[in-house]
Symmetry: C2
Subunit: 300 residues, 2 copies
């Protein structure tokens, strides 16, 4: 099912829609980057996207639907990103799925010890249910970054800086709204362009009628959704199959390779990978915390 | 170590400090309940509080301190409430503590299947780390209430109504601030009065200098802290040992039994246990959802 969803941006730029961007320098104003007139989406139609170095496979497609006995039956998407030195699981599903997740990893030839990073997009029970399967992985749950037996580490997500897993290829960005500390995983350079594993920033492809009722901050979530819609070629939502994103620029479509340079969400005004790991970019290193402050070390 | 901490309430009532209370009827205003002038706290000095039907034992005392290699070393408190038909674990610690939690339960003569309810005060990784140990329990993580393999159920927490586990004895109340959907467990009728297992609403007994930096909404958290300080005789904080609470009323102290009737946090303006389970109060039943709305069924 293909649809057209306007992002509702006419005179604005992505820069001034970003709630986490630091205040811009006073002058001169950078040239306004072009913004798409609208965004079309369509189902990806499969669960994997190849890529070098990183490809993605959706191990479990999330869902939510009315339960026949009342309430809602739901589970979250679980994704695997692998190919380079980082092997990352994004979201772990609900706690009832422990054995199933082990089976899904086994089908990929992986044991939990092979997973170097676990990222949970937020702390809801259908996403964090099985984090204890991965005691050796670096763990990011929302903005809680920990290693080992409870060493919590600083990062710049609260200040809008990405947490970089592999410079240029794989990073976590803050996408607040559904929860205050919601994050998404960005995989660059796949065969389809940039894949964003977006947790419940998007419930599913056609979620316009439902996401606000589930949001802690709909205004922030709307801005986060626009940022991701402006940069992603594929989105993995929290409760539906992955879908493609096509942006319309003027009268034509611009494929992702050509627009990448003008992507306002990663370009002007930031120091590239400001959180690049120490020591030349060993994946999984702790990002340098430039501005300090205990508020960046969620310990609780 | 004993201290005196003013709750900073002079002319206000608990009623108008409650962010979740629905708008009051226009007239007449209820009589203003008395409020304590100040609150003193002191360490409980032990990890258990007896009670009928429910007593509490802190299985793991939470902590947080600087890590010698940088960052913070932290884990959350884990509490067990038992004695009546409900056996509840409140918070499950970090994901590195799976085996340890099994041992702690074993020392109480319990296996995970004996636990009927698991309540996680919020979705941070040092509190939700081991929810998959309890696949047969009713699970509440913040405002996510689920049973079985992902059936999410409605409740009234978002509207300020408690989620009742055992009417008159054991309930969950919304205590937003540290996170938007933070909850606390209230155990009534112990040998020391009302015990509130408060997660990270309180980091530790003397946390005045630190909790705000860790809060998603310090204003809301301040109000939630006041509510709990006005009703609790013992508080189990997220990252420190349990402590007692003494309220000063005028020139003297009033023990908990005498003030219970005038407790503004549970009294006037609410329909008592508005979420009382169907069917005469079988513990663990789903509270009746009177006002409906999918927004009360967090499915993601």
């Amino acid at each position: 099912m293909r649809k057209t969803a306007s992002v509702g941006v006419t005179g604005a730029t992505a820069a001034n829609l970003d709630p986490l961007r630091p205040s811009p320098p006073p002058a001169p104003a950078p040239p306004t980057p072009p913004m798409p007139r609208g965004v079309r989406t369509s189902p990806l139609g499969r669960r994997e996207v190849a890529g070098v170095p990183y490809g993605l496979r959706v191990l479990q497609e999330g869902y939510s639907c009315p339960h026949p006995a009342g309430g809602v039956r739901a589970d979250g998407s679980i994704s695997l990103v692998r190919g380079g030195p980082v092997t990352a699981v994004v979201d772990t599903g609900g706690p009832w799925g422990r054995r199933r997740l082990l089976e899904l990893l086994g089908e990929e030839g992986l044991s939990p010890k092979d997973v170097t990073h676990v990222v949970c997009t937020h702390g809801h029970s259908d996403h964090v249910g099985n984090i204890n399967l991965f005691p050796t992985a670096t763990l990011l749950v929302g903005w809680d970054l920990s290693q080992g037996d409870g060493r919590y580490l600083p990062h710049g997500l609260a200040k809008g800086r990405p947490y970089v897993l592999h410079p240029g290829h794989l990073e976590v960005m803050a996408t607040p709204g559904h929860t205050v500390n919601h994050v998404s995983v960005v995989v660059r350079g796949t065969s389809l362009g940039t894949v964003v594993v977006a947790g419940d920033l998007f419930e599913r492809e056609e979620d316009e009628e439902e996401w606000r009722a589930l949001s802690e901050d709909p205004g922030q979530q709307e801005r986060s959704r626009r940022r991701v819609m402006a940069m992603a070629d594929v989105i993995v939502p929290g409760h539906g199959p992955p879908f493609r994103v096509f942006r319309e620029w003027g009268d034509g479509e611009v494929p992702w390779e050509e627009e990448e340079e003008g992507d306002a969400t990663t370009g002007d005004g930031r120091k590239g990978h400001g959180d690049s790991p120490r020591g030349g970019g060993t994946p999984g290193d702790v990002p340098t915390e430039e501005e300090g402050g205990t508020g960046d070390v969620p310990k609780s």
